[in-house]
Symmetry: D2
């Protein structure tokens, strides 16, 4: 199968934050991301194993939102191809030879068919890969950007679109009626570079950074407790069913959700088996059956158009995962066929 342009991986997100100092305190002082470059309006941050200029750009702005989800492409020509592809789709595009953010060169930004601001670039400044700089590691060191997660009303439509630009599905959540609640799609050899979560969108559900081991994620929780910031922990830590990774969800000072993530599996083979989870399986989102807090389902970040204005949010018409699993009419099971004990969360209320 031919692809219109060759995406290598998710590379960085640009987030607008309303209080840059507070955001810096969170991402640098608490989470330990490394500042590559900063001024009074913009901070470029990277993970310890990264060799490109940044994985996260924080930009001061009036409304908290995601300004771009940026993917690296394989060649400079793939930027041309991407631009052409989106133009042909009738999408708005903007090309900047000197890039949109520090450290990145020729790039195109588009508002894609799902309403998200995607960027594609090849040219980027190389910086020191700090992988061997163990003198800089903290107990909760973030070593890679792993993925984005986007909220969109119509997951199958979104999936078709992402497959059309070369992404491949690794896992999804469905019900017996064929409703798809979420899907995970990858370019690099991991479970995802981005995922689609069914809900009112376009909105950014979260961005995710990797640690080496599980204890690193626990160390982040412990540090948040020590700083009396435990209320930024929204969900977890836990083990995902989907992806099999160990996870934690935090909320930054603007409410942007950040996942810390480790140990999913290799997906690089062309016939990597797709795993489909039943939406009523109570271990799909947390393998240990621990409850997903409602805010995790309902809250997400606005995304911006190419003028910097928030994209309007479209309501999801299909069933909501929250409602079908933990609402009054919802149900979840631990063992297929279980009828007796409804689900774990109910046990706890």
């Amino acid at each position: 199968m031919t692809i219109p342009f060759d995406i290598v991986r998710c590379a960085y997100a640009e987030l607008v934050v309303t209080d840059l100092a507070a955001a810096r305190a969170f991402y640098v002082d608490v989470l330990g991301l490394v500042v590559t470059e900063e001024d009074e309006n913009v901070i470029c941050l990277r993970t310890l194993e990264e060799f490109i200029h940044h994985n996260l750009v924080l930009r001061r702005g009036p409304v908290a939102a995601a300004a771009a989800l940026a993917f690296r492409v394989r060649t400079p020509e793939d930027v041309d191809r991407a631009e052409r592809h989106y133009r042909d789709l009738g999408c708005r595009t903007e090309r900047r030879a000197s890039g949109f953010v520090p450290g990145v060169g020729d790039a195109v930004r588009v508002i894609d068919p799902l309403g998200f601001p995607y960027e594609f670039f090849f040219e980027v400044e190389h910086v020191e890969r700090l992988a061997w700089r163990y003198d800089l590691y903290t107990p909760g060191a973030l070593v890679r950007l792993d993925h984005f997660n986007q909220v969109t009303p119509d997951v199958p439509a979104g999936r078709d679109y992402l497959e059309s630009i070369g992404f491949r599905v690794t896992e999804d959540i469905q019900d017996a009626d064929g409703v798809t609640y979420a899907a995970w799609l990858h370019r690099k050899d991991t479970v995802h570079d981005t995922a689609l979560t069914g809900g009112d969108g376009p909105r950014l559900h979260h961005i995710a950074f990797s640690t080496h081991e599980k204890h690193n994620i626990i160390a982040i929780c412990d540090k948040l407790g020590a700083l009396r910031l435990s209320d930024v922990i929204e969900r977890g830590p836990g083990r995902h069913g989907v992806s099999n990774a160990f996870y934690l969800y935090l909320r930054d000072p603007d409410g942007h959700r950040v996942e810390i993530y480790t140990q999913d599996y290799y997906t690089g083979d062309p016939d990597n088996p797709v795993v489909t989870w039943d939406v009523h399986d109570n271990q799909r989102r947390d393998w240990w059956g621990n409850p997903v807090v409602p805010s995790w389902y309902t809250e997400a970040s606005l995304v911006l158009d190419l003028d910097g204005e928030p994209q309007p949010v479209v309501h999801r018409e299909q069933p909501s995962e929250l409602a079908v699993t933990i609402g009054a009419d919802g149900f979840s099971y631990t063992r297929e066929g279980d009828t007796e004990k409804g689900f774990k969360l109910g046990q706890q209320l």
Copy 2:
């Protein structure tokens, strides 16, 4: 200060279970405790670093309950002293030269002033300490019995009693009015050999086993997920505020609560500082502010008298920790002085 008899440590619990095969499947097949000896009515289990006959006795019986909380004393004479001490207190005692369970010799059982069946013994069969037998380790290997936790209506009274037999408090939970909600007391060099949790009692809140590292506890959760038994996870994993240990609470097939626990701190100095937590501090029970499920506060195991009959449960008259922290009139804070956001659980409902 003189002590009436010299307790070395908590040594084993005897639990009555209604389905011995189900209990065996849980403690042996799932948790990996080692069978020292068993017959159709009784199973004696130990942890991997133990050198005495057992840390847990499961006995088949009609009503799920705790039959004994057994402590090892320093010398054979301490058994005599313990017997005398409880007789002097007017407590019912029973001495058996050949012990109450396999592998344990001369022992005395008493119904103590709080209504709990305590056993004191010195004589015990030595068995192989399997510490070096890494060929027997599982990913979630339990290496020591760490402590008991008892529910009692009047914590200060219980604390006075336990201090009178040589226990020392390491931590407690109080409020500004001087109500004590829980206390932790030790003999060995850890945070506790037993703890008192304020509530309707006497009941056994839980027994706790140690792992070496945090990932071992995560491995237990992961295995429970794989076995589609995630609903036996009641609370956690998490980091305790009190004790600073990493924890997990499970419920066995009879509902007996088992904690898996690792990495508290050394307490052996005579002036080890007592840590007092405010009951409204939302990080006291979980350092990450994750909610304590109501069942954890309200449910516990019956305890038996020396005839094997369940002890009557006396209602706690003092305020309930559940009610003052997460009930309609309760509150918890992340940062002292916080007023805006009530508490994390509320945020999630």
Copy 3:
């Protein structure tokens, strides 16, 4: 750049062993690899996260040797292309529509320009990916095949060849005179799918399996100690300089070397920076400066031709890494420019 055929990743090795029962005890009972299929002559083994039939085939035979290093290609047509490519190179090839080993279909084996028996296949039986089967995990669980490592006399020549079929170099070891001692090359997004170690060859230096975390590798050592098999530990555990991974080298009952490996870094970007290490840098092979045992440099497994006969071994004419670093005339430094303390090993003798 165009590639003659598209290799996805290293997929499995076929090793001839002289005592199949002893090899099974090592790989299955000690290391915990999963048996997909076996008979009296052949055992097919896989790691816990694998979904293809196997990562290792053990075949009973008269002489311990590597019979094949097999790579998965992206499409069935890539098998044709590979066959054509090697024929055009004048290499001996053998195509078998039903494969050479159980579970693998249409495949071609070649004796490549370096003298190694390479296999390329696409068709393969899918089996259950056991990633979520935590009930099957052992403390030292092997979750993926990571790479091969081949001994060849002329590393630059070997590197040119591997680059010509699409591999890309991530790291190498050189000296100031331009001698290359070793090179690491990848197709999937890790530091390598195979590496070239300068020495008398063609021989197989080792195959490597991944664990999730470092403690899993320690658990393997601990278990070997418990089984009184510690003498199968040849080198490590330690931290590599090259690749930044945590490692351990074992020798199987036939002397085949097996590495256990975890936590290298992402290499999937087209301009992933190449890291070149100075051969005299004492942290290149072990980041902690711990000595590399001579056997690790000198011993390796024979490889077979397509008739099952051992390939003749050609002497390396270029300088030996062992000799230039720890021999009488060799030297290593901890800090560039160090003169005082020669190197750590010397300190220890």
Copy 4:
């Protein structure tokens, strides 16, 4: 059995260092010990879980040596008893009501029958126990002082002496002729508060600090590599046979040896089984059979008398563990009865 005075635990060591700035860089900047108090001549350092003033005192002086090994006793009166006891033994003692080092009050120092400068104290300043201050933790955080290790020519004589002041043996190394090469003795509930290593003495072999988990020790190695200080790693990391702990040995800038140690077992029962290891068992010192470097056997720190002069070193007349295990006439086995392969180190030369 009555004891002449009641030692609680090993509490701190006072080390004389020739370059205080270099020592500070090592213990504070590299290892992350916390400075409680310091001036131009003395630095008082503690571990993260400690609540007494310090676990290590570095004092500037002309000759690198150990000035004191200090033990905490249970009551102020135990200091009197200790003073009396050593006087009765004819040992030189010095009592200082205001202590010998900052933060410690009334204390007695003695030159004990083995020639070591022991201190006993009860009064000590309490400081913040930083256990919950995860914002201060580093990846290799040292959380407790675990033990001392002393070199003495006659181990059985030393053992008798230590037992006479209340220590109890947990493990030792012997040969078939009854020679004792080393012994481990404890007061707190761990394998040791101090150990005796047979050799020319009195000298201090090492002091040991604990981490929570094994990865913390690996992190220290990784950081030393990043700082190009890997040559301070003398031995390890590895798993001890004796004690079953995970270990690492470093040398500070003056050559003082520091062990990093984690996960031995509970020893508090009065009949805790003694483990005796055969000196020829190649897994006794390293469970994985990795070689013990000769310097580990032969080098140690001088100890000072009460005037601050180095104690003369007396030669050990009994066989040397180094000589009987790895010398020309020595041997070690992996499996009892092994004859074929001498020992692992030989394999490597």
